[in-house]
Point group: C2
Chain length 510, copies 2
């Protein structure tokens, strides 16, 4: 929370309080100190939050508290020193390059320290597994390399959930305050919107962050209460509330949601959907405007897709498999919402439902939720922008002399945005292909390679097949595959191009 607020303040300085970042004076070499300063502070803050699971394990007389203490000390010290070392370079704002570096840097560096408790305490993992798990947490992916979750200390389980929760709020702030400014993947479409919403009363990103944080916290508490009422114990309810609102998907047991059949599945589905809606709409809702939420093109699109897929799958299960309607409906709603929002819980191995569900779950994961939420993947709005562009193309084929403009949510979409959206889609597909080939190079079979690449890049959680499917986990993969998937989670979470930009020579020289 503290981390998020701090991040927000930086966003504020770079966007609201200072001149727009691209107007900042160009230096000859990229000054990384302001970036290091923020990352250092965030690392220290992350270290401080390790005291929470430490206290829990200490109270439960679990020797594991010691690992958290060490991890906290290392993180606070390292982060603090880093911030101090960079403090002399802090300026009023961040250039656009610094903002890019900050975004990727945060998600690459924080898992290093978030991984420490897994190294120094239970389960005593090596770097590959610990960093994978922390990355899966902070990117809200939810794939796990740990098995025997039920026997892990409660502190360790809580830390996994907390990582996802931090990652969730972090990505909302980045999606609302940073990405539109960075003009990445068509997110600039939400630029005017986010600021229109706040009008002149709330022009600054720090205020966005604090408002969003309040809503995020409120949803988490509401989810916790609902889980408690539906029968979960306090600890399980807390952990699942943290990972539901982050659309993360880490669970407290190897059975994932298989341990909570029935009412909790409906609770989870409801809150996963709520967490996949654009958070800016909640801010508007709080100020009494409910219309923007119901009229939001993304929201409508997501519910339509959801409804259609639920119908198809329930019909398939009832008609083709002869399953009873009520449990089929519940299982479909829960598991589909989990995949569509990129959460990644599973209450059953839906691969056993038949051939259609396997393919449908795979492709549903490539749709994703709404931009400006914790949901991941390609996202509804990109499909909507594309379909509008396609309609325009067909019109132009029919009337070559007419002039038509693609629209999104009633407003025209300019070339810049359209081309960003389409580039994102292609970049996603190409990256997916390359990742799948790389994974297959490590010896994984076709279905594991392709679904592993997709689930990591779209930050979902489970893949397909016996090994990494909803009934399995990522523990048995070789180290090379784990590192490829770790990179994929990072790239996918930051909308791909944000990361790739850092690899261009031009970026570092000016």
């Amino acid at each position: 929370m503290r981390a998020a607020a701090r991040l927000g303040q930086y966003a504020a300085r770079s966007i609201g309080l200072t001149a727009p970042p691209h107007a900042a004076k160009p230096a000859h070499m990229l000054d990384v100190r302001p970036v290091g300063y923020v990352i250092g502070l965030l690392i220290a803050a992350l270290g401080a939050t390790m005291l929470v699971p430490m206290v829990l394990d200490f109270a439960l007389s679990d020797g594991n508290w010691n690992g958290f203490l060490q991890a906290a000390l290392v993180s606070v010290l390292s982060g603090g020193l880093m911030a101090l070392a960079c403090a002399n370079g802090v300026r009023k704002g961040l250039t656009i390059e610094q903002t890019f570096l900050l975004t990727t840097g945060v998600w690459a560096a924080l898992p290093v320290f978030g991984a420490l408790p897994f190294l120094l305490g239970a389960p005593g993992a090596g770097w590959t597994d610990a960093y994978f798990e922390a990355m899966s947490g902070l990117t809200t992916t939810g794939s796990t390399v740990f098995s025997g979750l039920d026997d892990l200390p409660r502190g360790t389980l809580l830390w996994r959930s907390m990582l996802q929760w931090f990652g969730g709020i972090g990505i909302i702030v980045v999606a609302m305050a940073f990405l539109p400014e960075l003009r990445v993947g068509g997110m600039q479409i939400f630029k005017s919107e986010a600021f229109d919403t706040f009008g002149k009363i709330l022009p600054r990103a720090a205020e966005i962050a604090s408002r969003i944080s309040a809503i995020y916290m409120f949803l988490t508490v509401a989810c916790f209460i609902a889980y408690r009422l539906s029968g979960l114990g306090s600890f399980d309810a807390l952990n699942h509330a943290l990972t539901t609102i982050a659309t993360g998907g880490f669970s407290t047991g190897d059975a994932s949601f298989g341990a909570y059949r029935g009412a909790p599945e409906y609770v989870a589905a409801a809150f996963m959907l709520l967490a996949a809606l654009p958070f800016v709409r909640y801010v508007q809702l709080l100020s009494g405007q409910s219309a923007p939420l119901w009229r939001d093109a993304q929201v409508r699109g997501m519910f339509r897709v959801m409804l259609a897929l639920v119908l198809v799958l329930v019909l398939y299960r009832v008609a083709s498999n002869g399953d009873a309607l009520a449990p089929a409906l519940r299982e479909v709603i829960f598991n589909l919402t989990s995949i569509l929002t990129g959460t990644g819980y599973a209450s059953t191995d839906y691969q056993l439902w038949g051939a259609l569900p396997v393919a449908l779950f795979f492709f549903a994961g490539l749709i994703g939720g709404c931009a400006g939420s914790t949901a991941c993947s390609i996202k509804i709005f990109r499909y909507q922008v594309f379909l509008s562009a396609l309609r325009v193309q067909i019109r132009m084929i029919n009337s070559p002399r007419g002039i038509f403009t693609p629209r999104y949510d009633g407003r025209p979409v300019d070339h810049d945005v359209l081309s960003s959206v389409m580039s994102f889609f292609m970049l996603f597909s190409l990256t997916l292909g390359v990742l799948a080939v790389l994974l297959s190079m490590t010896g994984l079979d076709f279905i594991t390679s392709v679904s592993g690449a997709a689930t990591a890049l779209a930050n979902i959680g489970p893949g397909l097949g016996a090994e990494i499917g909803p009934a399995g986990n990522f523990a048995g993969l070789n180290d090379a595959a784990k590192w490829i998937l770790t990179a994929a989670m990072l790239i996918g979470r930051l909308e791909i191009i944000t990361v790739y930009v850092l690899f261009t020579v031009r970026f570092w020289r000016r």
Copy 2:
């Protein structure tokens, strides 16, 4: 050949001799008679060519000649009547709508008659199989639902090869003369090019068609001679020459190219590559200009991709599997060229080479050859246009005030083309996803559904897995799956949007 020339004449009338099609006077309802007229003539011409396999089977004293005679009669009669019935509606040119309808109409209607010999003669297939096989032929896909090829009458085998050969020349004419005018999938990028090439001396599509036909014929004869010299018998050499130059992939035996290991594999690889180059460059080569061929961005791109993939695969086989270099190199070059050009021969089951080759072959099939050739799939130039657009976007991120233009082959790419190219890519991906889901609905497993959808949409031939992989065929699939794949072949061959346009209301009303 006659068919192609006739098609070319129509293209000429609609493009060269009359006002541009979009300037044609709009009617209130689409007049389908000119389209019916051409399709009728093509059907009659196709029927006439059935006399070739008929004569062959008659000469071999194979009773199967009777099936060809019946099929020829039905086709010539039906086609002739259709042309007669529509003759009163023939105008000087075709409107753009009529051109669209003609393109899809030809590839939907001709397989109906092309299928007749399979129904009325050997192997006595039903409509589903016969139409699938004819569609696979005319779209130069090469997937087969017939097993026991070695025992089929020679006439039937020849007819399969002829269908691919007709489909190959047909698609080159359509790609060069029709698609750029229809502004489909970014093919308009080649508009000025194709006509610049011919300058003012050869401004008409009919002349394009006749020049291309000569080159196509020359390559086929050269390929036949090369196959003979490498040891194939006359009949096998003829059939494989027809299906190599069409990048089709039908073979005369169940073992496909497994029966011709060694030198014939190199011959095939060379001619598949030649057939996947832009045919307009050959026209220039004939008039003494060799530079355009070597400098063509598509040609260079394709060879680079080819080289990189061959290196990776050979290294993998030698280093990881410990295979001998010479046979590994030969098998990799042959099978990779076959998939990359969308031909679809297989000389061995490359799925047994390991996990990497499976994934690599799958994604290589989604690259494809050059536009303006018989090759299929997404095609090299679309990746090149996209990568240029991506570079521009990254530059714009780095220098938000700069103005940069994506380029292809040195020339700027305008918004219209860029957006067409990207739309094609997205449309391809979405169609692939929908087809895979539909196939899985018929009960096919994930790998068969996804690779089946890909191989049909990209007109390659073999899929992945035990059933439809390089060592299998499509015979065992259920009828629903076969019809879905048949539709996919048609949609993919005509660059997707050409077919989809027909399903818009606007298309039929004006």
